[in-house]
Symmetry: C2
Subunit: 212 residues, 2 copies
């Protein structure tokens, strides 16, 4: 099963971060070998689903024993593209932007927050959680200088499209968008939408179904 020749199902890719989570924990606990059944129970999925997912990446397990945690962890990180560190900039130093700037989870996954961009003069020139705040006007210049690749949009919905245009023009390759708006960008720009409200609305839906 040659990598690259096989199409990896979208559903499989979407579960990789979950597997990363579980394996990271096993690794920290010093566990070196786990069975698909153990991982599956921890994550609330079936073991055959896990095995099928992993099978797209070649034989990673040891029959009769299970999976080598370190080996599997490495392979998943590789598939997710985590070997290479990526530089992010957060656009919009409001509550959410500030929280993300200080979020350890990003650093831990090889994502370096190198800059914050703002229009509020009061914040410009300061540092938030150790990240320098630049004026939005310097977006183009700093992107080149700092080698920024991913723009995190934490601006109000009303400003998001305009900021996205600036981001594209500045040379960013990808956008992680927290504004509740679909963005119009050139096809070569990768956009990942993050809708916090969607998650909790799904929860509310289930709650209403059960309780009325």
């Amino acid at each position: 099963m040659e990598e690259g020749l096989v199409v990896i199902p979208k559903a499989t890719v979407s579960r990789l971060p979950l597997y990363l989570q579980a394996l990271t924990e096993y690794d920290h606990l010093g566990i070196t070998l786990v069975s698909s059944e153990e991982i599956a129970q921890k994550l609330g999925i079936t073991s055959s689903q896990l095995r099928k997912d992993l099978s797209y990446f070649g034989g990673l397990g040891i029959r009769g024993a299970g999976y080598d945690v370190a080996c599997l962890l490495g392979r998943i990180k590789e598939i997710l593209g985590m070997q290479k560190k990526r530089r992010l900039a957060i656009i919009g130093a409001g509550k959410l932007g500030t929280a993300l700037a200080g979020y350890r989870g990003l650093q831990q996954h090889g994502l370096e927050v190198k800059a914050l961009f703002e229009i509020d003069k009061g914040k410009i020139g300061t540092a938030i959680a150790g990240v320098p705040v630049y004026p939005l006007a310097e977006l183009h210049a700093q992107t080149a200088r700092l080698g920024l690749e991913i723009a995190v949009l934490t601006v109000p919905a009303a400003a998001a499209q305009k900021v996205a245009d600036l981001v594209v023009e500045a040379g960013f390759k990808a956008i992680w968008n927290f504004a509740p708006i679909r963005l119009e960008v050139p096809e070569n720009i990768i956009v990942q939408y993050e809708d916090l409200v969607a998650g909790v609305l799904t929860l509310v839906h289930h709650l209403s179904r059960k309780l009325g």
Copy 2:
């Protein structure tokens, strides 16, 4: 097509927040009638998918014309269970908890943040974004007093399971979990996992596929 008799596909439910987003925008713009094609283009999906999704809730559109924005918006809110206001508590007044306490999007969707719970004595007794901060020890008492239903877990991963146990014992019906851990809770408790890292890792994966 009687509601209740038909099973609504999971995939359909997961797209409702998206539809809510688009329709809310049309409503704000004063647009009263839209076609499935217009909405679909705005959201980057196909119009037939949108129509099929909506068809599970009965005939909501007007053939030859499109969908009445206000009517459809109301119906989607109803399906998502947004008629009834829900009271949340945020457990963990760190960066993320603080950001969520001040997040307008929750209030706008009928979700009222009524309390923050913390162990840090320095924060207890204060108010963050207008939300009072209580000691974690008062969880049980305040849950009953304030009528809290949904617990938002923004505590470190290491503490999440213990806090979840407390939350369940306090009488919460649902948990919105931001800690990168699967929780073990009784079956009647609804858990919604929110993994911020998953989103950006998917983005990184696409980026690596394209650029190496």
